[in-house]
């Protein structure tokens, strides 16, 4: 009976077909990091090549798989076979069939080779036809005070974003627009780009290999230390896109996420201006003011820059506009109200729509993040919380002259954490 069961191999295909069909709903194809929902020309071209391979493979699967199922059913041993004489022959095969099949295989590969070659060159760098519409001078409006950092020649270039990978977060810099770490204006976790504009991405790493992957906009390219890699992308719709490091980079690789915020070009110009503005002063005597003092006292200032308040740190993320960002801790923690976000995604039917930062969520995240990783806090000064990001540098680092909170044995009471969070919440 087992033999008969296995002779119906075709039956085995049924559950897999069912699984494939079940997986084909639109919602499943448009999840946050879906590669099947391209929102820009680079991702679109990559998706088209993928679909070419899919169709080829489906045809081959049906042909070869069908023959296999047919052969297995048709040529199964039948009762009485054992009385037949054995088939004794030389297995030389049939040259005509062999050559025919080899030729057909090569032919079917040519079908996918052509779009592949086209797409390899197209996705490599900003194509010539995109440059005229992507020059800074074309779309970057002349807002007051916005032009001091780039010269005429720069205006003729496409927008460039430097992506710097570190264990375990991404830093974004816009050298043409004066938003760099050296100028104390870098942007962690969330890259902002204008809609409909080709952006050249320069990929750099400061430690190990990382990989920049925002599936709806473009496939990944690695950030190799000691190497200058590049890619380009362009977003055809505004919205909030989700990305993630795709090359294993150590303890917290899974927690190294990032976001890409695509905005209208005019909006982008305003955003650039905002990034250059210093943090607002904190009123004396408030909780936030106490938090600001803690920021200096607990050595936060050693790594973090807060424009207008503190200017020493260049190792950690720039915090000048921390409270305006939708994510925290290498984008692992989401600063938006999860319920409101879910409701909005269901209402609009896409994951690119986003609610604004929720103050309460952000505050809870800040307390969780700073107070995690074995940093003692709480009323008794002993409460330990779980690592938000295992091995993260803020708590665990100890190298050269930089040391993390845990290594320097910093302790926070619950009140101190609250003060610190209140201070950070003022950094919009």
């Amino acid at each position: 009976m087992f033999s008969r069961f296995f002779s119906r191999v075709g039956l085995l295909a049924a559950p897999f077909l069912a699984i494939i069909m079940a997986g084909c709903s639109k919602a499943d194809m448009t999840v946050r990091q879906s590669t099947l929902d391209p929102k820009g020309p680079v991702a679109q071209v990559q998706f088209d090549v993928f679909m070419a391979t899919v169709w080829l493979v489906v045809v081959l699967f049906v042909l070869v798989g069908g023959l296999l199922v047919y052969a297995v059913i048709k040529f199964r041993a039948r009762p009485g076979d054992e009385n037949e004489p054995a088939i004794v022959e030389d297995g030389h095969g049939n040259p005509l069939i062999e050559i025919g099949l080899i030729t057909a295989s090569i032919g079917s590969l040519v079908i996918i080779a052509i779009p592949t070659l086209n797409a390899i060159w197209y996705t490599d760098d900003v194509p010539a036809e995109s440059v005229p519409t992507s020059k800074l001078s074309v779309w970057y409006p002349r807002v007051e005070g916005g032009r001091e950092n780039y010269a005429k020649t720069v205006e003729e270039q496409v927008l460039e974003v430097d992506v710097i990978g570190k264990q375990w977060w991404f830093r974004f810099e816009y050298p043409q627009l004066g938003l760099t770490n050296d100028a104390k204006h870098s942007v962690p976790n969330e890259m902002v780009i204008p809609k409909g504009v080709a952006v050249r991405i320069n990929l750099r790493s400061e430690d190990v290999i990382h990989s920049f992957w925002v599936p709806k906009l473009a496939g990944k390219v690695d950030l190799m230390p000691g190497r200058k890699n590049h890619m380009w992308l362009q977003a055809s719709e505004t919205g909030h896109y989700y990305g993630q490091c795709a090359e294993f980079c150590g303890d917290s690789h899974a927690y190294m996420l990032f976001r890409v915020e695509v905005v209208e070009p005019a909006e982008f110009a305003k955003w650039v201006q905002r990034q250059k503005a210093p943090a607002e002063p904190v009123a004396v005597g408030t909780k936030a003011d106490k938090g600001k003092a803690l920021f200096a006292a607990k050595s936060c200032v050693m790594c973090h820059n807060v424009g207008g308040h503190f200017g020493a740190g260049a190792f950690g993320p720039d915090l000048t506009h921390l409270a305006s960002r939708k994510s925290l801790a290498g984008a692992w923690l989401d600063n938006r109200d999860p319920k409101a976000q879910l409701a909005l995604e269901q209402k609009t039917g896409n994951t690119e729509s986003s609610v604004e930062v929720d103050r309460a969520t952000l505050k809870a995240n800040l307390i969780k993040w700073i107070g995690s990783s074995g940093v003692a806090h709480g009323a008794d000064g002993k409460t330990l919380t779980k690592d938000v990001k295992p091995g993260n540098r803020m708590h665990y680092y100890k190298m050269f002259n930089v040391a993390g909170l845990r290594e320097t044995n910093q302790k926070f009471t619950a009140e101190e954490l609250d003060d610190l969070a209140e201070y950070l919440l003022t950094l919009k």
């Binding site: 002779s7 499943d28 899974a254």
Partner: protein
């Protein structure tokens, strides 16, 4: 003299007086029991030992896999810590490739190749034993890192005040099985040798290095054996396909392993002595590691898969009752795959910024390798076409192999299109792809081989219903575990991630995948249990229960230690099958037989020499940790290694004569020269 008494024929080796060398060393020819197993040079016993160790490590790697799947079953899970997770997937990959599939393939090489070509043993029996024990000690060193990790987690090292430093808290390797530098290497200026990872990486480096020595020694041995020790009339184009694939695999190992050997030495020098091969801050090139690794690593994929293809090419004709369709082209395509396998390594590096020209070149070459692979599938289809298919457990698994390997090949074609690959690289789509090739392909092929040759190895037949049940669970569980990963990858889930947030749409299929993994695990436990029980207690069976085609089925089961009482002479491919069902195709060489068969003496020396690697394997990581005087342990290990090899050379060729049963009165078939 003992030498003379050894060359008087005896009916049983235990009748021998112990042979002494000029130095007074005893060759343990008389030994029985565990000393016999430790000192054996018999290719069949070495094959069984390889198989037993491989199956053990399959279970170890399987437990690691289930821990991984348990962790990923739910979003934001904390079944294991992030570091433990990273160690688990690193050791899972390394274990399955180097300690599971490769030694299980080696088990088949060892047991079958001499039998299939009509030989007494392999060309260098003691070298064969050396390969086995070197593998065993290399595997031990690699897995010893787990012992230190658990000891550390249990707090055994807490009393040392150095325990907080990274190198002393990260004992099991956690770099992934391809250990990309500089994560596995160093940073900082010249000579600082600051490390991103702990001593686990050093265990990994030396463990893989030692395993490579084992593979290289075995490969030279098999190439010599296959080229030189074929029976009369067994021309290259009459070799059984499994032996052919063994030959191709051995050549691949010899050409591929030097690259990883060099890479590992460079990485070891970076970490231990402050060299700067891969240290970017001192001018090293991390991408160099990737090139060196993958020019080994891609042929390694074919090293894993070609033996399984060879097995399937034996199983399908047997149970279709038909000769292999297109034998020459199957052999030729195997060789072409091996050759092209060296020309596609950079398809693992499409996202490293190679530039468009190399990307295009490797993209096209990768597509090209699909052609010989497809040819094999067409010819297997041609083999069953028009046959009388008997659905025995090995045949069910072999058909499963074709089906699943074909799916893995299809996703491979998808990867070859570099722009599409930039979305798939390092995502779960890749995980799905290579598990379809390595589990759906290689593992099913190897399981098929186990069920197929088990009756020959032990003379006992595995229980068929359990075999069907196990196969069904493995095939269904495997598809349930890895099928959904195609979707997960396309939905943007990167590989090697300890956990993920809810809301990305990955929850359902991760859970399904975990259920599938447990089903697969259950199937493997049933199959291994069935086989282990069969080895000791199974029902006795005839010498040729499957109506086999190749020479090993002409021998008694289990095979006597001298293999062939008289050297066979064959007149055709599939000589045994045609001999049974048609005209005379097998004879034996007219060399008498009164004197018996000349057997190689057993030896302790391969084991002693290999034991040197144990000291080297523990000494090198300790040296990298900075433990004082650990370097002397390495030197001591080298001393043991050289002592073993020196005594090995001095113990002389040895050997003894074994009486065999009545000669088969078989004349040489007349058609030998005709083909």
């Amino acid at each position: 003299m003992s030498h003379d008494s050894h060359h008087a024929p005896v009916a049983c080796k235990t009748e021998l007086a112990p042979e002494r060398s000029d130095l007074g060393l005893i060759r343990p020819d008389r030994a029985t029991g565990w000393i016999d197993w430790l000192t054996t040079v018999d290719h069949k016993k070495i094959g069984i030992l390889y198989g037993a160790f491989a199956m053990f490590y399959f279970l170890v790697g399987g437990v690691e896999a289930l821990a991984i799947r348990t962790q990923l079953a739910r979003p934001d899970n904390d079944f294991v810590t992030a570091r433990m997770y990273n160690q688990l997937f690193t050791m899972h990959g390394t274990t399955m490739i180097f300690l599971g599939v490769m030694p299980l393939s080696a088990a088949f090489f060892n047991f079958l190749v001499p039998l299939q070509i009509g030989a007494r043993d392999v060309a260098f029996p003691r070298l064969n034993a050396f390969s086995l024990w070197t593998f065993v000690f290399g595997a031990f060193v690699l897995n010893a890192s787990w012992f230190f990790e658990f000891a550390h987690l249990a707090g055994w090292f807490n009393s040392f005040d150095w325990h907080k430093a990274l190198v002393y808290t990260d004992f099991a390797p956690a770099n992934g099985w391809f250990s990309y530098a500089p994560l596995s290497g160093t940073f900082g200026q010249n000579g600082q040798a600051l490390r991103f990872t702990g001593v686990g990486t050093d265990f990994w480096i030396i463990g893989i290095q030692v395993l490579g020595i084992a593979s290289l020694a075995a490969s030279f041995n098999f190439i010599c054996t296959i080229i030189n020790m074929r029976a009369k009339g067994m021309t290259m184009m009459r070799l059984p396909v499994f032996t052919w694939m063994t030959l191709v695999t051995a050549v691949l190992i010899i050409l591929a392993f030097p690259a990883i050997t060099v890479a590992l030495i460079e990485l070891m020098f970076d970490r231990t002595f402050g060299a700067n091969f891969f240290n970017p801050s001192a001018g090293g090139q991390p991408v160099l590691w990737q090139h060196l690794f993958w020019i080994f690593g891609h042929p390694e994929v074919y090293i894993l898969v070609l033996p399984a293809m060879g097995i399937v090419s034996e199983v399908l004709p047997t149970f279709s009752g038909k000769s292999l369709f297109g034998y020459p082209i199957i052999v030729f395509s195997g060789a072409v795959i091996g050759f092209l396998g060296f020309a596609v390594w950079s398809h693992h590096m499409f996202t490293t910024g190679l530039g468009p020209v190399p990307t295009a070149a490797f993209s096209l070459l990768t597509m090209a390798i699909a052609v010989p692979t497809g040819v094999k599938i067409f010819n297997w289809l041609g083999t069953i076409w028009g046959g009388r298919i008997r659905f025995t457990p090995p045949m069910v698994l072999a058909l499963g192999f074709i089906w699943m390997f074909m799916c893995g090949g299809f996703s491979g074609v998808m990867h070859s299109a570099a722009p599409a690959d930039s979305q798939q690289q390092d995502s779960y789509f890749v995980i799905a792809h290579f598990h379809y090739v390595l589990v759906g392909g290689v593992l099913l092929g190897l399981l098929s081989g186990l069920y197929f040759w088990f009756p020959k190895i032990f003379g006992r037949m595995p229980n068929a219903p359990l075999g069907y049940l196990g196969s069904a669970l493995v095939i269904l569980g495997f598809n349930l575990a890895f099928g959904p990963m195609h979707y997960l990858g396309l939905a943007g889930m990167p590989r090697r991630t300890h956990t993920y947030h809810a809301g990305n749409g990955w929850e359902t299929w991760n859970m399904v995948s975990t259920y599938g993994a447990y089903m697969l695990g259950l199937g493997i436990v049933i199959i291994f249990g069935n086989l282990a029980w069969t080895a000791f207690r199974g029902k006795k069976c005839s010498n040729d229960p499957w109506d086999g085609r190749t020479l090993e089925w002409s021998l008694p089961s289990p095979v006597p230690e001298y293999n062939f009482a008289q050297a066979p002479v064959v007149a055709t491919r599939d000589a045994f099958f045609e001999d049974k069902h048609g005209s005379k195709r097998i004879g034996s060489e007219p060399d008498g037989g009164e004197a018996g068969v000349h057997m190689p003496s057993q030896s302790w020396m391969p084991l002693v020499a290999s034991a040197g690697f144990l000291f080297i394997g523990f000494g090198m990581p300790m040296m990298a940790m900075g433990i004082p005087h650990a370097g002397w342990m390495v030197i001591g290990g080298l001393g043991v290694l050289f002592l073993g090899i020196w005594l090995w050379a001095l113990e002389g060729p040895g050997g003894y004569m074994l009486k065999t049963p009545v000669n088969r009165d078989a004349p040489v078939p007349t058609e030998t020269a005709a083909h």
